[in-house]
C-alpha cells in the first residue's frame, strides 16, 4: 500500500504578553457583544458531581509569580467518562464541558477554576486512572505550551492504583503533581517552571 508523505507540523511560537486579547478579550476591554465568551461554559446548574475550586500560582526560575499566563484545563466528568468522538454510546454528562480556560490575576497571579471533581477512569478490569485534571499553560517566554496533570492529595488510595503515577514512582518531583487540600472542596495547585520544586511537565 502506498502512503502519502507526512506533512511537517507547524511550529509553535510563544503566546507573548498580549495573549488575553485572543483568549479572554473581555479582560482587556474588548467586548464581543455579538457572541459569547467560551471560557465560562464549563459548568451549569445541571452538571452532575461535587463542586470544587482549584487554584494556584505559577512561579518562574526566580520564584517570581507569573501574572500574564493563561491556563486551560481538560478533565473527565464526575463519572469518569470522556467527551469522546470515538464512541457512540457516550454516557458523558451533557451539562459539563470537558474544557475550561482562565488567566492569572493581573495583580496577584492567582488562577482559579470552579469545576467538578473528576471521576475515576476505569481503563479495564484491573487498571484505573485516579481523579486528575490536565492543565496546559501558555505565556510570554513559553515557546511551547506546557502540559501537566493535577492529582488530588486526599485520594491516596486511588492515587496508588493510578496507572500513570505508578510509572512515575522514581521521579524526585512526583509531589509536584498533587494539589493540596486546603479547605472543604478547595485545592491548591502551584506550578514551578524551574528550580528545586520544578513541576513535572509531560511530553504528551
Amino acid at each position: 500500500m502506498s502512503t502519502k508523505k507526512k506533512l511537517k507540523q507547524t511550529p509553535s511560537q510563544t503566546a507573548g504578553p498580549y495573549l488575553h486579547i485572543g483568549f479572554l478579550p473581555e479582560e482587556v476591554g474588548i467586548n464581543s457583544s455579538l457572541s459569547r465568551e467560551l471560557n465560562n461554559l464549563i459548568l451549569s446548574e445541571k452538571t452532575e458531581g461535587t463542586r470544587i475550586e482549584i487554584s494556584g500560582k505559577i512561579y518562574d526560575g526566580n520564584n517570581e509569580v507569573l501574572k500574564d499566563a493563561i491556563v486551560e484545563i481538560w478533565q473527565v466528568d464526575s463519572n469518569g467518562n470522556y467527551q469522546s468522538r470515538l464512541t457512540k454510546k457516550n454516557k458523558y454528562d451533557k451539562n459539563f464541558s470537558n474544557w475550561g480556560r482562565t488567566s492569572c490575576d493581573f495583580n496577584t497571579g492567582l488562577w482559579k477554576f470552579n469545576t467538578i471533581k473528576p471521576g475515576i477512569v476505569q481503563l479495564n478490569k484491573s487498571e484505573i486512572l485516579a481523579p486528575h485534571i490536565w492543565l496546559w499553560i501558555v505565556a510570554r517566554g513559553i515557546n511551547l505550551g506546557l502540559y501537566t496533570c493535577m492529582y488530588f492529595s486526599d485520594e491516596n488510595t486511588l492515587n496508588k492504583l493510578d496507572r500513570n503515577l505508578k510509572k512515575l514512582n522514581n521521579n524526585n518531583n512526583l509531589q509536584s503533581l498533587f494539589a493540596v487540600y486546603t479547605e472543604k472542596y478547595k485545592y491548591e495547585f502551584n506550578i514551578h517552571l524551574q528550580g528545586a520544586k520544578e513541576t513535572i511537565f509531560f511530553d504528551v
Binding site: F23, G29, R85, S97, V138, G141, I142, V204
Partner: protein, 243 residues
C-alpha cells in the same frame, strides 16, 4: 469490547522536536526563567480522546472572523485590508473540520489594545485585534483583517517584532493544541527576531510565513495571504492512498 482497550495509548504522532522552538532560547530573554530545566516526561496516555471539539456555530458571532468590523461595525479601521486564509490539516494531510481558531494582533501601527502595551503608537478606535472562527468541513478558514504593524519590544536591545498575527488552534484533541504566530512574506525583520529565530529549522520557520496570493485578492478591497496549518496526525487513522 471495552472502549478503552482499543484506545489505551496515545494515538498521535509525537511533538516533532526538530520543528518546534527550544524552550530555553537565551536570545529571547523571557524564556530564560520560564523554561523547564528538566526533560519533559513521556507518558502513555489515553487522553487523546479528550477532545476539543466542543464548540459549534452557535457559540460564535457572525462578525467574529471579520476584524475590520467586529470591534466597531460602523467605521473602517486604518490600514492595509487583508484576508488571511488557509487550510487546517494534520500530518496525514487529513483536513481538520470544525476546529476553533482564535487570532489576536496589533493594529496597523503596531499597537495592541492591551493595558500592558506601552508603545507610543496610537490605538485605532475601530480596531480591537481579536477574532475567531471554526474551520469548515474541509478544514478551511479565513479572516478579514488589517495588516498589523511591526513594533519594538523590550528584550535588552533594539528589538522589533516583524508584522505577525497570533494564532491559537484547538484541533480535535487537546494533544493537538497549538499556539503560534503567522508572519508575512518578504518581511526583513523575521531574520532579526529572536522569537522567530527560536525555531532553528529554516524550513519550519518558513512554514510560518504566509504567502501573498494576488489571485484571491478582491479588486479595490483587500489583498490575500495564504497560511496553512499542520497539527499532529492521528496514528490510528491509516494513511490515505496517494492518487
Amino acid at each position: 469490547m471495552d472502549f478503552f482497550d482499543k484506545n489505551l495509548h496515545n494515538s498521535f504522532y509525537p511533538i516533532d522536536k526538530d520543528i518546534h522552538p527550544k524552550s530555553f532560547f537565551p536570545d529571547y530573554k523571557s524564556s530564560i526563567l520560564r523554561s523547564p530545566k528538566k526533560h519533559l516526561v513521556s507518558i502513555d496516555t489515553i487522553i487523546s480522546d479528550l477532545h476539543g471539539n466542543m464548540f459549534d456555530k452557535n457559540d460564535l458571532g457572525l462578525l467574529d472572523n471579520d476584524l475590520t468590523r467586529n470591534f466597531n461595525k460602523h467605521n473602517e479601521p486604518i490600514g492595509e485590508r487583508i484576508v488571511v486564509y488557509g487550510k487546517l490539516l494534520d500530518e496525514n494531510s487529513k483536513p481538520i473540520p470544525n476546529s476553533l481558531i482564535e487570532i489576536w494582533q496589533a493594529n496597523s501601527s503596531g499597537k495592541y489594545r492591551h493595558s500592558g502595551d506601552t508603545y507610543k503608537a496610537p490605538l485605532d478606535p475601530n480596531f480591537g485585534g481579536w477574532g475567531r472562527c471554526l474551520t469548515d468541513e474541509n478544514g478551511n478558514y479565513y479572516f478579514k483583517t488589517i495588516k498589523p504593524g511591526a513594533y519594538p519590544w523590550p528584550n535588552g536591545g533594539n528589538n522589533w517584532r516583524p508584522a505577525h498575527i497570533h494564532f491559537s488552534i484547538f484541533g480535535l484533541s487537546f494533544l493537538q493544541r497549538l499556539v503560534t504566530q503567522m508572519y508575512f512574506e518578504g518581511d526583513p525583520l523575521i531574520a532579526k527576531c529572536p522569537i522567530a529565530q527560536s525555531i532553528s529549522n529554516k524550513k519550519a520557520l518558513e512554514s510560518l510565513i504566509s504567502k501573498l496570493d494576488i489571485n484571491k485578492s478582491i479588486h479595490m478591497d483587500y489583498i490575500a495571504y495564504q497560511f496553512n496549518i499542520i497539527l499532529r496526525g492521528d496514528k490510528s487513522i491509516p494513511f490515505e492512498k496517494s492518487e
